[in-house]
Symmetry: C2
Subunit: 116 residues, 2 copies
């Protein structure tokens, strides 16, 4: 089962809002900040980069613990924040969880920052 | 006096690193995450958008408190985080502090997220 919460899609009030494209209302700012909050942790940034650099763009949680030097529950906690923010998807296969980055979510977040 | 800490410049180890461009080391991830942490708060996202939308791209702190509904010390605290992250500059003129967004810093952060 794949769990993912796509963020900043067309149905999202912040889909096309940018930081420098006009004064944002509270809802738009909340949507934008939610993703950046998930990205505002060095372990989570490393985890995303490790997953993106993995064969086939997919990584087993069993291969993520050693590079970041953290326990599996801690890595799992960080990954749940990234999945909740729509930045990664999670698929359980047998004993292990496998993760993929959602490039569209990273690109959407990037667009929110680009000068308009 | 203008205070600003340009981030993600050529002298920064994370200047050209991207989240999906290969496994990041701890220092690169730290540099990237630091800026996103500053952006991971809805009030700070709104403040940046309000400043960017102001006449001449500059806003007095005296004009920022009412739109976000917060006291001046609280707004000042949020702004200090944005200045420390290199996302805004601060200039004291007489009684008031004036802020500008640093578009290059937003663009650098955006590039760190774009698919490579």
């Amino acid at each position: 089962m794949t769990i993912g919460l796509p963020l900043l899609t067309a149905r999202d009030s912040a889909c096309c809002a940018t930081v420098t494209g006009g004064a944002l209302d509270a809802d738009q700012a909340e949507s934008i900040a939610r993703v950046f909050k998930a990205l505002g942790d060095p372990t989570r940034v490393r985890l995303l980069s490790l997953i993106a650099a993995s064969d086939g763009g997919e990584a087993c949680i069993c291969d993520l613990t050693e590079p970041v030097g953290l326990s599996q529950p801690t890595v799992s906690h960080h990954m749940s924040k990234l999945v909740a923010a729509g930045l990664a998807t999670r698929e359980q296969r047998g004993r292990w969880a496998y993760y993929r980055v959602v490039p569209e979510a990273l690109d959407s977040s990037a667009r929110a920052l680009l000068s308009s």
